[in-house]
């Protein structure tokens, strides 16, 4: 392969990986702190995409849609935690799986009832409506670069919050020992609702900024769900750092799988997961389960 194009492929892989990280980060956060397996995570991604579509249509600009839509998504996450999820913290993982599966069905059907089943496009912000020339045939849209930067910004912010703030300390403590946080006098109830809402918000944000790239259509969330779980598991459940590394690995594996083994590209990502788990059964950065 021509070195220029090999380099571009690596960039493609990283860009896809960064977006995967953004989607998966909320999942691993909720996983780590709340010990909740949230199958409906992909649905929050879908909610974000549809919010972006609906609000961009109303306001004309994706920026505004994000500013208006994010609080809505956070509120939805908060409400779902209060009404359903909080009853499950003490229960079996499997019941969480079942409940959040039910939630997928409900959110999908509500989407179909409210927005219909057509495929919709969301225009990229006008300021970013240009592209960079890479080779004589290939360019790179500025919006894709902007998405990658946004993903990096979120990663940096999450790192900052979790490593260097009081809230982050509590979150870290919570992911190790929930009871301890309770004993230390923190309101675990509020913390849980907050973390779950934040996870939902991150997924929705990912859906919003990805909307101009991916278009908006029914079943959108289900497509990202499995690959999200792959990222979280390879990285080690609950580890933000792990999710970041794993997302980049999955992005690269997917990109190069498609280049070198086009007939069986989809196997590449799963093979990566199997290999990782056989080597480290608790994921790259997971604590011993």
């Amino acid at each position: 392969m021509d070195p220029t194009f090999a380099l571009i492929q690596i960039l493609n892989g990283i860009q896809y990986g960064l977006l995967l990280f953004l989607i998966a980060s909320g999942l691993t956060l909720a996983f780590g702190v709340l010990r909740v397996i949230n199958l409906a995570h992909g649905s929050f991604y879908m909610v974000g995409a549809y919010l972006a579509f609906w609000l961009t249509q109303r306001t004309g600009e994706l920026w505004l849609a994000i500013v208006l839509g994010l609080p809505l998504a956070l509120a939805l996450g908060f409400a779902i935690e209060r009404v359903m999820i909080r009853f499950l913290y003490e229960r079996d993982h499997l019941q969480q799986v079942l409940l959040t599966y039910g939630l997928i069905l409900i959110l999908n059907e509500l989407q179909s009832i409210v927005f219909g089943n057509e495929v919709h496009g969301v225009p990229a912000p006008k300021a970013l409506d240009f592209s960079f020339r890479l080779t004589d045939t290939l360019s790179y849209p500025a919006y894709r670069v902007a998405v990658s930067i946004a993903c990096l910004a979120v990663a940096a912010t999450m790192y900052g919050v979790i490593q260097h703030t009081r809230l982050g300390m509590v979150i870290r403590a919570g992911s190790v020992n929930r009871e301890m946080v309770e004993i230390l006098g923190f309101d675990v109830r509020r913390l849980s609702a907050l973390v779950f809402a934040a996870g939902a918000g991150l997924a929705a944000f990912a859906g919003m900024i990805a909307a101009p790239l991916s278009s908006v259509y029914p079943g959108l969330g289900d497509q990202v769900l499995i690959v999200c779980f792959v990222v979280v598991v390879i990285g080690g459940i609950g580890s933000i750092k792990g999710a970041f590394v794993a997302a980049l690995l999955v992005g690269l594996a997917d990109t190069f799988g498609k280049t070198f083994a086009p007939g069986l590209a989809s196997v590449a990502v799963y093979a990566l997961m199997v290999a990782t788990l056989l080597w480290r059964p608790q994921g790259l950065f997971g604590r011993n389960a």
């Binding site: 359903m84 599966y101 069905l105 409900i106 779980f229 196997v267 799963y270 199997v274 056989l278 389960a289």
Partner: protein, 326 residues
């Protein structure tokens, strides 16, 4: 896996009696429908052995179901049915071998990681059958005729005849249920139950827990293959979608919905889910919304699954009796 309390057994027997009468009184469609329900019940029970027996949650169990179904398709000649004596052992054996191979690797992980590694194996098989031409690709394969059950050229059973297939499936389901009962009471069953409760302790007691888990995984794969064989026989059409995680998820949903504490759970879950889907689909095109509401209500109100509902249906004084029995 707890044996069902006596009252549940009575209800189960009543259900069995009602099933026996289906071909005699119900429309041909219901004969087919209940054949499918019972097939799914066997599939769910096979997963139940893993989930509530060993505490291993697999999200790739559809792979063994699908593999067996594909084996039936692949060994069937172009114009006639394969011999049951060939197709059935090959289907079950193939599924069991695949389960042993996948299990040998997967069992090294635990918890959520185990769920995900089984999912990964399932997805890899899905793409193998979907993306390559080894067995019909994405369009799937037709089976020209159902397997033939004959000894020395004399047909013992016509699987083409729907009531016959129905009763054969009923026998298969009952046999699977009883077989799992025997397993759970055998030393092996006690051992895997011990592993579920406290693996470290079992290891300290000298049990080879890895081997026990592997055998359970293989056994469970073989039973899933059994149900896959019946599926292929009933519908004579296989498609890669049988490998997909949706199929595995469906079985898992049946197991959890029915209830993890009772051996009847997967059975109850399979019947409830398929029949409720059948019912609400007739009402509205947004039927999945109702399924979602149903699933969530069960989780929130019946922590031990639908099995808990059965004793509640009985008169009060009888319920007290159940408590004593249990």
């Amino acid at each position: 896996m707890a044996a069902p309390p006596r009252m549940l057994s009575v209800l189960a027997l009543l259900g069995l009696a009602a099933l026996l009468l289906v071909p005699a009184f119900a429309d041909r469609f219901y004969v087919q429908l209940f054949t499918k329900v019972m097939t799914m019940a066997i599939f769910a029970m096979s997963l139940g052995l893993l989930v509530s027996g060993v505490g291993l949650v697999s999200l790739g169990h559809g792979a063994f179901f699908a593999l067996a179904a594909y084996i039936v398709a692949l060994v069937s000649p172009a114009t006639e049915g394969a011999s049951l004596w060939l197709a059935l052992p090959l289907a079950i054996g193939g599924a069991a071998l695949a389960a042993l191979a996948i299990g040998a690797l997967a069992i090294r992980t635990s918890g959520v990681y185990f769920i995900m590694i089984t999912l990964a194996f399932g997805q890899m098989l899905f793409y193998l059958f979907h993306d390559t031409k080894i067995a019909g690709g994405a369009d799937g394969l037709f089976i020209a005729a159902r397997p033939v059950v004959a000894v020395g050229g004399i047909a013992l059973l016509q699987l083409d005849h729907r009531p016959s297939l129905f009763y054969a499936t009923l026998v298969a389901m009952a046999a699977t249920y009883l077989f799992l009962g025997i397993v759970s009471r055998a030393p092996f069953g006690k051992a895997i139950e011990g592993i579920r409760v406290n693996e470290q302790r079992m290891r300290a007691l000298g049990y080879d827990t890895y081997l026990h888990k592997l055998v359970a995984f293989g056994l469970s794969g073989a039973l899933a293959g059994f149900s896959g064989f019946i599926y292929a026989t009933q519908y004579t059409y296989v498609n890669p979608a049988l490998f997909s995680w949706h199929q595995s998820g469906l079985a898992l949903m049946m197991v959890i919905l029915g209830g993890l504490r009772s051996r009847l759970g997967p059975l109850v879950g399979a019947f409830a889910l398929v029949l409720i889907e059948e019912l609400v689909q007739a009402w509205t095109t947004h039927w999945l919304l109702l399924i979602g509401v149903f699933v969530i209500s069960v989780v929130l109100t019946l922590p031990n699954g639908l099995v808990d509902l059965l004793p509640r249906l009985l008169p009060r004084d009888r319920r007290r009796g159940v408590a004593v029995d249990a």
